[in-house]
């Protein structure tokens, strides 16, 4: 066995567990990061293999490796599917702590604060359920504690917070998906955007593309890491691009991992008022509660919503 190239004080204890990992790959079936990039290096099995290589000295600890190991949304979809019931995210957290201690300065999916824009209102410190944000003359983010839920990003009144790697969930990435869908000349039916929480109802979605499926669908599903991440500006962007309506789905009230749904509810209520003042019917923005993995509830919700906005027709341009 080669020597690990850096001190791995926390990871050493997982050596036995990494032997127990049978490398079946079940963990990557529903990993949102893997689904976005389709590279096995971004999938949990790949990361478990990298960690194994770090411990036995076969993998050189580099910025690239550290960056990979700092990518995780902590949705635990991998753990729930693991053939060997391994505590995958705990192992990742220890890997992150060891790598940061060894001096790697990478961010992965950690939220970062732009100091130039931050006015130190401390809103993000108050709301982070994972106690990852604190004030020490400036906002300090504990990279190991941050679970990359993104709640702080959309709550910051100054838009000072962002995530370098969003894997499709950053506001900019969403905006471009919205425009791509609603402004595509080839589409005649595009009407609505459905924001779908990664935790509650994403698990059922396929990786494969069904070519014979409706080539011109009426709505597009965009996956967010938490309903709390759907900023009002992103919703308004959908209307600006001609959407007839927007549906946001979220977990039941006490079931959100990040308490993001409480804010979602408040946000959607105030957005309804705001659009009403702009002459847009409040039924154009809707909220649907979906229990974890309840595909039927999700589909029924979407069906009802689509019927209502189709009854309402397209937005009148003023």
């Amino acid at each position: 066995m080669n020597k690990p190239k850096i001190k791995l004080n926390r990871l050493e204890k997982w050596k036995g567990s990494l032997d127990v990992c049978i490398r079946c790959g079940y963990c990557f079936a529903h990993c949102p990061i893997y689904k976005d990039t389709r590279w096995e290096t971004d999938a949990p099995r790949g990361k478990m293999t990298l960690i194994y290589g770090l411990i036995n000295g076969e993998v050189e600890p580099t910025d690239y490796v550290a960056e990979k190991l700092l990518e995780c949304f902590y949705c635990k979809r991998c753990e729930n599917n693991c053939s060997s019931s391994l505590p995958i995210t705990q192992i990742f957290t220890d890997a992150q702590a060891d790598l940061l201690e060894a001096g790697f300065d990478v961010k992965g999916t950690t939220s970062v604060t732009n100091r130039g824009q931050c006015t130190l209102c401390l809103e993000c410190v108050r709301l982070c359920k994972h106690e990852a944000r604190s004030y020490d003359g400036r906002i300090v983010v504990d990279t190991v504690k941050c679970q990359s839920c993104g709640s702080c990003i959309d709550s910051c009144p100054r838009m000072a917070i962002s995530m370098n790697l969003g894997f499709g969930t950053n506001p900019d990435e969403m905006r471009s998906e919205i425009t791509g869908f609603l402004k595509d000349d080839k589409r005649k039916n595009a009407k609505a955007i459905v924001f779908c929480c990664n935790w509650s109802n994403y698990p059922g979605f396929q990786v494969a593309e069904l070519v014979s499926e409706d080539p011109d669908p009426e709505y597009k599903i965009l996956v967010t890491m938490c309903s709390g991440r759907v900023q009002s500006q992103v919703i308004m962007e959908a209307f600006a691009q001609g959407a007839w309506g927007v549906l946001v789905t979220m977990c039941p009230e006490d079931k959100c991992e990040h308490d993001g749904n409480v804010r979602t509810k408040m946000r959607i209520n105030s957005l309804k008022k705001a659009i009403h003042e702009l002459g847009i019917g409040p039924e154009r923005v809707q909220l649907e509660i979906v229990e974890k993995g309840n595909q039927k509830q999700f589909q029924d919700g979407v069906k009802k919503f689509m019927k209502e906005i189709k009854d309402a027709g397209p937005l009148k341009r003023g």
């Binding site: 036995g16 049978i22 490398r23 079946c24 079940y26 053939s83």
Partner: protein, 480 residues
């Protein structure tokens, strides 16, 4: 490695679809087997044209190319023994056509089994091979391994559902084999040898598959046996009696203990359990089958039978079998479950004896082995639980694997039921198929004269699996 022109590969598939960082190579050099080796690059084609260009380039430079689906193979099928390019097929994941009128579908090779079945479900049909790994297994990998699963006893393996393939050869030429019709009597039917070819004959870029109606009624049963032989006798009689169970699974005592340990299910501590299922469209027909199976089991000493048509109940009864894998990995501290002697097929009449033999060989070699399997297809799975850090464990495992396959061969069984051969089962395969190896090499040569497609596998694999590649495990008393 130095002969690989990364820029050329990037020209073909685009900058973003090639990786050659050592960290990526380390990951793509493993699968669910005990093996590991470093490839030189990972390349992700998006269409058949790109696959053709990659093959033309690799063939001209004699660079090995290893097609890879999800890398869930258990015998090292995708481990690049001589380095080369890993051709990751997961981007080619389109379901191209679902033709209900002619009862077939056309898919790209990277489509995941579960996704295909999700797409077929609204039409009340399914693609039946369904390996346990269907949540990640790609159709390309299933065809190339000739995968099967719990329901194959009734519906067959991947080969039985395969009507045709579009294949890119080592030269880069593309040929369609097979048909979209139900039967075919023309000549050599090459598509059938592509099933089970483990990526050594060509790259599958499209497959035409048949599907079958989803049964509307299922009934699941479970019976306990105090003696393994009684379960074995039941299996033979069920299969010989003309019954067509849609599932017939054997779970041995080691597995029962593991399940009870891990899940606290309180399964009876018996020698063996049989789990069986009948399915169909008419309740009377399903009743008839299930009663017949139950009666046969009980005549042979089966007791405590549970039967259920109810979906939730069926799920409960099946929990133990479903969670067998994680349970085995928790059987004992520091005893990882390794994929060795992972599958085999024996005649029905030898199921019980094989299980006994596996336990006996495990004891002789001081390792733990559990035996379970889709016994309705004669398929037996084992896992070797051992301290993977000790070289003596590996020596013992090597001996046990050889003894098991010697026995399987002696009773007219075969080396692989569904997981394939790859590297780790190749020595046994080569002994079993000694008489046809040269013919197989001739076929390989006709498809791939420069031996660039997944070299070092099947008939061309090493006779010494233990040293054919580095092990994915760290054996701590080896290098000190």
């Amino acid at each position: 490695m130095e002969k690989l022109n990364i820029s050329r590969l990037k020209e073909i598939v685009g900058e973003k679809n090639v990786k050659d960082d050592p960290a990526d190579l380390y990951i793509y050099g493993t699968d669910a087997s005990v093996h590991q080796a470093m490839p030189w690059a990972v390349v992700r084609p998006e269409n058949a044209g790109q696959v053709q260009e990659i093959m033309r380039y690799a063939n001209s430079e004699k660079i090995p190319v290893i097609p890879r689906g999800s890398g869930s193979g258990m015998c090292g099928q995708t481990v690049p023994v001589n380095g080369g390019i890993i051709l990751d097929m997961k981007r080619m994941n389109k379901i191209l056509e679902i033709n209900l009128e002619d009862v077939y579908c056309r898919v790209e090779p990277g489509v995941i089994d579960d996704d295909l079945n999700k797409a077929l479900k609204p039409y009340n049909v399914f693609f039946p091979p369904t390996p346990a790994s269907s949540i990640i297994a790609t159709i390309g990998g299933e065809i190339a391994n000739n995968a099967s699963g719990v329901r194959s006893v009734k519906y067959g393996a991947a080969r039985d559902s395969l009507l045709g393939v579009k294949l890119v050869l080592a030269s880069g030429d593309m040929i369609s084999f097979g048909t979209t019709t139900r039967v075919e009597a023309s000549g050599y039917q090459i598509e059938r040898i592509i099933a089970g070819s483990e990526g050594t004959l060509g790259v599958i870029v499209e497959a035409t598959l048949k599907f079958v109606p989803l049964p509307t009624i299922r009934c699941l049963g479970m019976t306990n046996f105090n003696k393994l032989e009684e379960a074995g006798d039941s299996i033979s009689e069920i299969m010989a009696s003309g019954c067509t169970p849609s599932m017939l699974e054997l779970v041995d005592n080691v597995a029962i203990k593991a399940i009870n340990n891990a899940l606290k299910l309180n399964l009876p501590d018996v020698d063996a359990i049989l789990i069986f299922e009948a399915d169909g469209m008419v309740k009377e027909a399903v009743d008839f089958e299930i009663t017949k199976i139950k009666d046969i089991c009980e005549t042979h000493g089966g007791f405590g039978t549970e039967l259920s048509f109810d979906e939730k109940e069926r799920e409960r009864i099946y929990t133990g079998r479903k969670k067998l894998f994680p349970s085995l990995s928790k059987y004992k501290e520091l005893m990882p479950s390794t994929s060795l002697a992972d599958d085999m097929t024996v005649p029905y009449s030898k199921m019980a004896e094989t299980t006994r033999k596996i336990h006996e060989i495990a004891k002789q070699n001081n390792i733990i082995m559990s035996a379970y399997g889709h016994c309705g297809s004669g398929c037996m799975h084992t896992k070797i639980l051992m301290d993977t850090t000790k070289s003596e464990s590996w020596k013992a495992a090597e001996k046990a694997v050889a003894q098991i396959y010697e026995y399987v061969n002696s009773v007219g069984g075969t080396t692989s039921a569904e997981h394939g051969i790859g590297i780790s089962k190749a020595p046994a395969f080569k002994i079993e198929k000694a008489a046809s190896l040269e013919l197989m090499r001739g076929i390989k040569k006709a498809f791939d004269p420069n031996n660039i497609l997944n070299p070092g596998k099947l008939q061309d694999a090493s006779d010494d699996w233990l040293n054919a590649t580095k092990l994915r495990y760290t054996v701590s008393d080896k290098c000190e």
